[in-house]
């Protein structure tokens, strides 16, 4: 302990209590640690992984992280203060300077500034809040694009909440029509201290079953063709009993009968590929982890969902949380991993509460723990919240973040299957990928392959947003065309005609109206130079100022770059500047155009991770489609 230098600032009682609540009492902490335990893997283990929960505790208690509070955490967890400061300043949800909040302030209102909300009147909403003296934070995509303009309340001394969750039971969200009206709850939300109902606080266990039954969660609710979404809005998401009564945990039981090898075979034979964006074959990943012996192993559900335009995982976690828990348990069984982790983005309070509730009930029922579900295999799940950083969805960054370090990706190889969480073998999957495996195990690979196409078997969740009248989460078979999907989401809103569709989010690309005949499969989208990515389908009409949209996409990458490597740290800034120049000058000159290409090339070629590799993609496609004015002026440079 002698080695750790900690400054003079001390924590107050509120902060000490908040940290204790977040990390437990510090009895387990190694206080006599020798200098050398800080080296290597030991620094990653011990209690360092509790740093993020502890910082959340401080932030929530006071609305910021004070020097005294940080010192206290460093002492409890034996983390050098400079490093803890480096970690805290990495995240959007943490403040390290004292905000000017009145003592009666209950929350900071985050309002989304990304594309779907940008074209749905978010600036008007922000102006309205600010006029009323609310504390507003301009946030990247909040994962509620179907409710644009979206909000999230970061609580101070009370839980975080989402206004839409508090009222969802008796309003009809999904197909209520164009999203550009200010929602009633938004108007009332900032009126005074007493008004905010911390949604998840009252929510977790107490939603009456019938209220769930009537609420419309998704446009296709209860439809006969639904597989991944069949429980959504139909089965009480807070009740293990209800989940089991509707077939829940049958897949895990079947998996245990089959044994791990046969489960991996079924998943491999099904052709299931990852739904987090990279489409890597899940069977190969699971088998690789299953083959690793002699070290602790992990399975991780990557629930960081922060790709602008994406909200599918949120809906699944909120409305069918037991399916996520069951499928993660199944993944643990198939790969021989004893440790399950859920890393969920910090702005998802309802999903977090529902997952916590589900883990608790599963544990109580013996479906987690030693001999989980009678499998003879020990398996349990820990839930960790992110704190606002898109990059932490990148798998190696997620591991670093979870371990209590800055969410900086690392070069691959080595891959997570051998060097994942705590440098141990890890299978990390998107929750949509995971819940697919329930169907595969229960009905077999052949049945699974009867849907979708040869090379893209199964169904896909799609996040419809933008200028469509029924925004929301849809499930379709792979191979459904883009035009058919847009038709499902109803006629376009406003008076314009379709100008472009953003596929796969900010990391994806725009396609024009000529792509409506494109079958939505991995192979067809690739062939047409676009991507399904995380399932974003965002519609833009010709009334929309696409330059402003491009400026914001560029700003998103600039803000979200971790800053580690030069091509992305500086390249995203220079790219943003060129977009601002279009806005200032009215068009992109030939000379600036070549600069844009030069910047894109180095980001694609030399960046460390996927963020840098894709940061120029949407903008390049917008230029190629002629969505941004070109020519005109030339620089006097």
């Amino acid at each position: 302990m002698a080695d750790l230098f900690i400054g003079d600032d001390t924590a107050d009682e509120i902060e000490i209590a908040a940290v204790a609540a977040a990390v437990g009492t510090p009895t387990a902490v190694v206080r006599e640690s020798e200098r050398l335990v800080y080296g290597g893997i030991h620094r990653r283990r011990d209690h360092r992984h509790l740093l993020l929960p502890a910082l959340h505790g401080l932030q929530n208690a006071k609305g910021w992280i004070s020097p005294g509070g940080l010192n206290h955490v460093c002492e409890v967890l034996q983390v050098p203060p400079a490093e803890a400061y480096g970690v805290a300043t990495f995240y959007e949800m943490f403040r390290l300077d004292e905000p000017e909040l009145g003592p009666e302030t209950t929350h900071v209102t985050h309002v989304c500034v990304d594309a779907a909300c940008q074209i749905a009147g978010n600036e008007e909403l922000i102006a309205e809040f600010e006029a009323r003296g609310a504390h507003v934070h301009r946030s990247p995509c909040l994962g509620q694009c179907e409710r644009a303009p979206a909000q999230f309340h970061q609580g101070i001394g009370r839980p975080d909440s989402v206004p839409a969750d508090a009222v969802e039971a008796d309003t009809v969200p999904a197909d209520a029509g164009p999203a550009d009206t200010v929602p009633a709850d938004a108007v009332e939300a900032d009126a005074g201290p007493a008004d905010t109902v911390p949604a998840d606080a009252v929510e977790a266990d107490s939603v009456p079953a019938d209220a769930v039954e009537v609420a419309v969660k998704i446009p296709q609710q209860g439809g006969p063709s639904l597989r991944l979404l069949r429980n959504v809005g139909v089965v009480d998401p807070t009740s293990l009993r209800a989940y089991r009564a509707n077939g829940g945990y049958r897949a895990l039981a079947r998996a245990i009968e089959m044994g791990p090898v046969a489960v991996c075979t079924a998943v491999a034979d099904s052709g299931l590929s990852g739904r987090g964006g990279a489409a890597f074959p899940t069977g190969i990943k699971w088998r690789a982890v299953a083959a690793e012996q002699g070290r602790p192993k992990h399975v991780v559900a990557n629930c960081d969902e922060s790709e602008p335009g994406t909200f599918k995982d949120r809906v699944v976690m909120e409305q069918d949380p037991f399916a996520v828990i069951e499928s993660l348990t199944l993944a643990g069984f198939a790969t021989g991993a004893e440790n399950g982790w859920i890393y969920i983005r910090g702005e998802y309070p309802l999903a977090t509460a529902r997952l916590r509730n589900a883990v608790g009930q599963a544990r109580e029922a013996g479906l987690l723990g030693d001999d989980a579900a009678g499998s003879g295999h020990s398996f349990d799940i820990e839930i960790r919240r992110g704190a606002g950083a898109y990059i932490c969805g990148e798998e190696t960054a997620l591991f670093a973040s979870l371990e209590g370090f800055r969410g900086e990706p690392r070069s691959k190889p080595p891959f997570p299957t051998t060097h994942g969480l705590f440098s141990e073998p890890t299978a990390i999957n998107n929750p949509e990928t995971l819940i697919n495996t329930l169907d595969i195990v229960l009905n077999g690979a052949e049945d699974y392959r009867s849907r979708g196409t040869e090379r893209s078997p199964g169904t896909k969740l799609l996040c419809l947003s933008g200028r469509v009248s029924k925004p929301g989460l849809y499930e379709v078979e792979f191979g459904t065309t883009l035009g058919e999907v847009l038709e499902l989401a109803g006629p376009l809103t406003g008076s314009g005609t379709l100008a472009a569709v953003l596929m796969g989010g900010a990391a994806g690309s725009f396609v024009g109206p000529d792509a409506l005949d494109m079958p939505l499969t991995l192979e067809d989208t690739r062939e047409r130079g676009t991507t399904l990515g995380s399932g974003v389908v965002m519609a833009f009409t010709d009334e929309i100022d696409m330059v402003a949209v491009a400026v914001r996409i560029a700003e998103f990458f600039r803000n979200e770059s971790c800053g580690q490597c030069v091509p992305c740290r500086v390249g995203t800034v220079r790219q943003h500047e060129t977009m601002v120049q279009i806005q200032a000058k009215g068009s992109l000159s030939a000379q600036r155009r070549s600069l844009v290409d030069d910047i894109a090339e180095v980001m694609v070629d030399a960046s460390i991770c996927g963020l840098g590799h894709t940061a120029a993609s949407a903008i390049n496609s917008a230029i190629a489609l002629g969505l941004l004015p070109e020519g005109g002026h030339d620089d006097d440079h």
Binding site: Y38, G39, Q581, A606
Partner: protein, 286 residues
């Protein structure tokens, strides 16, 4: 390195090369007489492969590969001068030159000329490219930190932490273009964990961290490296036997370094060896 190692055969720019297994592509290039620019790499630190100035093209790999961190493989085909490699290296240098002060990063100037980097092309008369803009931090009499010159190579963080000193006085804070090397809450150094070993000074490639003597002399226009002499000696403060390199100008010691390949120090020292020539006393706060 012992001589019993397995060797690996590869080609670099068409030339057949054979090096011991485990060698990095960068070292293989050096041994083949193909110099490679590096910035975040140093022989006495763990590679962080963050700067990407050393990238090469490896056949079969979609993206370019950081040569400093990737080990050679048998039958690897490496290109160090392809159009893609030249473009990426040029852009990395341009990006740095357009955002930080590289005037004291002497190695880089040559490479910038070599690749034709033009950092000024990002500026427009009415829309200048954003730069890192920081005032020098002068907080004691021993050394200064001028993050205007920082390329965020992580070397000082590594030298202060896991790779040498285990003090962890400084770390990267913030994110993206706003990322900075910092103490907790940007506390002044004398109030931080810093023990003034000066190892961060020793590894900084751009002069962002430098001896106060050097900083003052440069400010006064009196810094004349060409006239400086370097004398090697063994530190007399304790019995460890650290090699010291005393840099003198006009018979005055102006800074102290230690060779990175020295078996005892690996380039790292303590406050006595590094600053003992001045006086051994706690640093004074400005």
């Amino acid at each position: 390195m012992t001589t019993t190692e397995v060797s690996v055969n590869l080609t670099i720019d068409g030339q057949a090369v054979s090096v011991p297994e485990g060698t990095s592509i960068h070292m293989a290039c050096e041994s083949a007489g193909t110099p490679t620019p590096t910035l975040c790499w140093a022989e006495n630190l763990t590679p962080v492969n963050a700067c990407r100035v050393c990238v090469v093209e490896v056949e079969g790999s979609r993206a370019l590969v950081p040569s400093c961190a990737r080990a050679v493989e048998d039958q690897m085909v490496v290109q160090t001068d392809s159009p893609r490699v030249r473009h990426s290296r040029k852009m990395v240098l341009e990006f740095l030159g357009s955002s930080v002060d590289l005037s004291q990063a002497t190695d880089l100037a040559e490479w910038m000329r070599h690749y034709g980097a033009d950092p000024d092309r990002y500026d427009q008369p009415d829309l200048p490219a954003e730069r890192i803009s920081e005032e020098p931090k002068i907080q004691d009499d021993l050394y200064i930190r001028d993050y205007d010159k920082c390329v965020l190579c992580y070397k000082c963080v590594e030298a202060c932490g896991d790779d040498a000193q285990y003090t962890f006085a400084i770390a990267v804070s913030g994110r993206g273009f706003d990322a900075r090397i910092s103490t907790e809450f940007d506390t002044v150094l004398p109030d931080s964990a810093c023990v003034y070993c000066g190892n961060c000074i020793g590894v900084c490639p751009t002069g962002a961290i430098q001896f106060k003597t050097e900083f003052d002399m440069r400010s006064a226009g009196e810094w004349r490296p060409d006239e400086q002499e370097v004398t090697t000696t063994v530190c007399s403060f304790c019995g460890v036997g650290c090699n010291l390199e005393l840099h003198t100008q006009d018979d005055q010691i102006v800074k102290v370094t230690s060779p990175a390949d020295h078996s005892v120090t690996h380039g790292h020292l303590c406050i006595k060896g590094r600053f003992g020539w001045q006086y051994v006393q706690p640093p004074t706060r400005r």
